[in-house]
């Protein structure tokens, strides 16, 4: 913490006025950055400078800044969330960069995620996939006691591993096919592993998969880029689980 050295970095940032406007890269300099700045705090510094000089700041999505809301979404040097294992952009810190580095910053790129402005994209397709069946159809009230159905710890842990997904979209942004299979499978696998989710498992997997394709996402061809980019470490084994659930649903 006693380190007061600062860095100067060159940023090459995608700027785009609106969904139909042409975009281009612009170059900015980030000065006075310490290793303790988070990546977004570094962008805050650049934006303050831009505002003071009467220019429009770089627009980017962010909210909780603690790696859980899934709002932040930037491709840094070609890698969604910047390439530090299990880390969102907001939790990436500047100690991972060196003085004098040049950093490329781009939005998620996928047909199903149209650009609103600069680094902000429309991810409502992920909501649409969940709406197609990413739930148990229980009513508010009138449900049994929480301990009425025992859930073996390994099953509960497996469901929790899948449920870690924050819906940020990095998996689709990283995939050469822009597939949302990791996202979709995480919800399918979570609910299929639990007794509460079994009743609707067949319908769920069919509907969610169909909706994923209708939204414009591609299919999975086992590149595993999604798992590498996932800030929560969601595992591709859930895609295998989805495929098994899908085959079962065809037989049912």
């Amino acid at each position: 913490m006693s380190d007061h050295k600062t860095m100067t970095l060159t940023l090459i940032v995608w700027r785009q006025k609106g969904p139909n406007a042409p975009g281009k890269f612009e170059t900015y300099t980030a000065k006075g950055i310490t290793e303790h700045h988070s990546f977004l705090e570094m962008l805050d510094v650049v934006n303050e400078d831009l505002i003071k000089s009467g220019k429009e700041p770089i627009v980017f999505d962010h909210d909780c800044r603690e790696g859980i809301c899934g709002m932040c979404s930037q491709v840094i040097n070609g890698v969604p969330h910047g390439g530090q294992e299990r880390t969102t952009v907001c939790q990436l810190h500047m100690r991972k960069f060196k003085d004098g580095d040049t950093i490329y910053i781009e939005p998620w790129r996928a047909k199903a995620f149209p650009i609103h402005k600069d680094l902000v994209v429309d991810r409502s397709a992920y909501d649409t996939i969940i709406q197609a069946g990413g739930y148990t159809s229980c009513h508010t009230g009138g449900v049994p006691d929480g301990n009425a159905v025992l859930i073996p710890k390994p099953d509960a842990d497996y469901a929790m591993d899948a449920a870690e997904c924050i819906g940020c979209g990095a998996c689709a942004a990283a995939c050469p096919n822009s597939s949302a299979m990791l996202f979709t499978s995480a919800k399918v696998a979570q609910l299929a592993a639990l007794p509460q989710g079994k009743a609707e498992a067949a319908e769920r997997v069919k509907n969610m998969l169909e909706t994923m394709q209708e939204c414009g996402f591609g299919n999975c061809s086992n590149h595993y880029e999604c798992q590498a980019a996932c800030p929560k470490g969601v595992n591709v084994k859930f895609i295998a689980k989805l495929n098994r659930e899908y085959l079962k649903s065809l037989a049912s």
Binding site: P57, D63, R123, S124, Y126, T140, G146, L150
Partner: protein, 638 residues
């Protein structure tokens, strides 16, 4: 005016059941004729929108994020309380009720807290049915852990991300209703005005954050589930978009703001590292199940590596001061104790603003793998931010603004003083008194959303004719003009200081003079400086871009303008409350040992402020608090 909370009377354990029976009903065929607006889709708003949609009402739900799944409820880490008594350790609805009243330092309504404790058990069942993967033990039963201010283990959890899992549960229920067509979801909308027609809440005006368009929506009732306001301190554990704006606009339309001075400073957050910092990160209270808080006894040990300081030279100050609750003392008390050690010159880390949270004893006792299983993601987060390994070296912690107990005033039905305006979750003031216990925010949000509002809103709607007001009403036109005018004013100033500079300055004043310790003098300083800062803001702020586009600078400017007004009200409330209670600590009012000194003879009331116009002093209304089941007592955790 003496406010009436309209609490049911009679034996406390029958109040909610009796009230539910007394409430009027809307028959299923008529429900679809009513429209309800829900602003905010966190635990309270998401759960409420889903439940009301399922009942058959037409719901329009709004959130400022790009998806309802991102509300800041998602960041809650540790857990959710319920009086299930699964561990057989002496818990009951009555004990949860009692702990919450006492934890809130006797500044909450008994009937509201009873209801919360009563429905807490239903919440766990509901979440399990949704597929929330709560922690289980090897037998397959639900697991529990302990939280501050309780001597029983009643907290249910999903690793260190319970809020995320509960929110995704509510989001899944909401998604089901969106698919069913009962809820229409409006993402990326920020509410900028409440529309009141003939004294009754009938709609909202909001900004479409993508296009910049100002839009109005009319309904038969409006619910605000818009969260808390501790971003008034600039640095807090809240998300960047959390603001007082929706609540403040409702206040300016006549809704009373209750107990704004009750703010929670959470004891265990990662200390601030520099001026550039944009937010503070919380480390869950659950860590205090296994971590021990200490500072060096001797100032000369401050420079040493913590492992070089032997046990006898460490001051485990919480265990020393509060032996019966130890490291699980409630938040207000633990925060003040940390500040006390640092003020005494024994704080660790940069600027002496930190205490150690040490896991070495637990690691010795349980093994690193057990600690990793319980809190792995928190240790990971700590390391990402500080570059230090919490398994090898004690974490450094310092208190930070985290939660607001105050909020818009509501009666027992969660209805504000404006008919047709309901307020849910953190946005209202109702159950936490002057201090919230850990793992109770999730409980309240979901209680309000799943199990309270679906009943109480019916009682109101049954008395009004549906669809009487549309956006063609002149009040809506005026509202849109006002909101447009306000944005244009912000954009036209073109001064020299950025929005962030003003917000940092306001936050500094609030933290310095109205933070963990408040005095008459410090508050009077703020009551002078905040209006001056506000005046400067309206002359010298620089907001770039236009109103007709995605403009985050304009969004932040609007939120900051509201905080600049609200901060003054918060200080005014703190100034008037000449006592110490819970999170509100007035240095003039303390016992010799430094504990908070309440004044029940003069301040045992809810203080609700009424807006009287710009530049005019707001008027204070009081709702006396009656304690018939819990005896008012000095709160002790010793």
């Amino acid at each position: 005016m003496i406010l009436d909370g309209k609490c049911p009377t009679g034996p406390i354990e029958k109040t909610w059941d009796k009230h539910r029976f007394d409430l009027k009903l809307v028959n299923p065929a008529n429900k679809r004729k009513y429209t309800v607006i829900m602003v905010g889709t966190g635990l309270a708003g998401g759960a409420a929108a889903a439940s009301l949609g399922e009942l058959g009402y037409n719901v329009m739900a709004f959130c400022y994020q790009d998806s309802p799944r991102r509300a800041h409820s998602i960041a809650a880490q540790g857990g959710i309380n319920a009086a299930k008594n699964y561990p057989n350790d002496g818990d009951s609805i009555y004990r949860l009720f009692y702990d919450t009243i006492k934890g809130g330092d006797f500044r909450a309504r008994e009937a509201d807290v009873w209801r919360l404790a009563q429905v807490s058990n239903n919440i766990i069942d509901q979440c399990v049915a949704q597929g929330v993967p709560f922690a289980r033990d090897y037998s397959g039963y639900l697991d529990n852990r302990s939280f501050g201010g309780a001597q029983v283990s009643r907290t249910f959890y999903a690793r260190g991300q319970t809020g995320q899992q509960l929110l995704l549960g509510a989001y899944s229920a909401l998604s089901r209703q969106i698919k069913a067509g009962t809820v229409k979801m409006y993402n990326r909308r920020e509410m900028l005005d409440l529309v009141v027609v003939d004294g009754v809440a009938k709609g909202i005006t909001c900004r479409n954050l993508i296009t910049g368009e100002i839009e109005s929506y009319a309904a038969d009732a409006v619910c605000l589930a818009t969260g808390g306001y501790v971003n008034v301190f600039y640095l807090s554990t809240n998300a960047m978009g959390c603001s007082v704006t929706a609540n403040w606009k409702a206040y300016k339309k006549g809704a009373f703001f209750a107990n704004p001075c009750y703010t929670q400073i959470h004891p265990t957050c990662i200390p601030q590292a520099g001026d550039y910092q944009s937010k503070l990160t919380l480390m869950s209270e659950s860590l205090r199940n296994d971590g021990r808080c200490w500072v060096p006894k001797k100032k000369e040990d401050l420079g040493k590596h913590p492992s070089e300081i032997p046990d006898e030279d460490r001051d485990y100050y919480l265990e020393r001061k509060y032996p019966s609750f130890g490291n699980l003392a409630p938040r207000d008390i633990a925060s003040r104790a940390a500040k006390e050690q640092c003020d005494d010159g024994r704080g660790v880390g940069p600027g002496g603003r930190g205490v150690y949270l040490d896991f070495s004893d637990s690691i010795k006792r349980l093994g690193e793998s057990t600690i990793r299983e319980r809190y792995g993601n928190l240790f990971e987060m700590y390391e990402k931010i500080t570059d230090e390994n919490g398994y090898k070296r004690p974490m450094r912690m310092y208190p930070a603004p985290h939660y607001s107990m105050g909020g818009l005033w509501v009666d027992y039905n969660l209805q504000s003083n404006i008919p047709g305006l309901f307020v849910l979750g953190e946005a209202n003031f109702s159950v936490h008194g002057a201090n919230r216990l850990g793992a109770s925010a999730l409980m309240q949000g979901l209680a309000d959303g799943y199990f309270v509002i679906p009943y109480t809103i019916g009682g109101y709607l049954a008395t009004v004719k549906p669809g009487t007001v549309t956006t063609a009403n002149p009040e809506f036109k005026k509202s849109v003009e006002d909101v447009n005018g306000y944005a244009n004013k912000l954009l036209s100033i073109n001064g020299k200081k950025t929005v962030a500079e003003f917000m940092r300055e306001l936050g500094g004043l609030m933290w310095e003079n109205c933070g963990m310790a408040r005095s008459k003098e410090s508050l009077e300083t703020n009551l002078k400086k905040i209006p001056a800062l506000r005046e400067e803001f309206w002359k010298n702020v620089k907001v770039t871009g236009t109103g007709a586009e995605l403009n985050q600078d304009l969004e932040n400017a609007g939120r900051t303008a509201d905080f600049l007004e609200f901060g003054e009200l918060l200080c005014r409330d703190a100034h008037h409350r000449e006592e110490s209670c819970g999170g509100h600590f007035r240095v003039e009012h303390q016992y010799e040992d430094g504990e908070a000194m309440r004044d029940d003879a003069n301040f045992c009331y809810v203080g609700a402020w009424e807006y009287k116009g710009d530049g005019k002093e707001p008027e204070l209304h009081k709702e006396p608090l009656k304690f018939e089941n819990v005896h008012l007592a000095v709160r002790s955790y010793k």
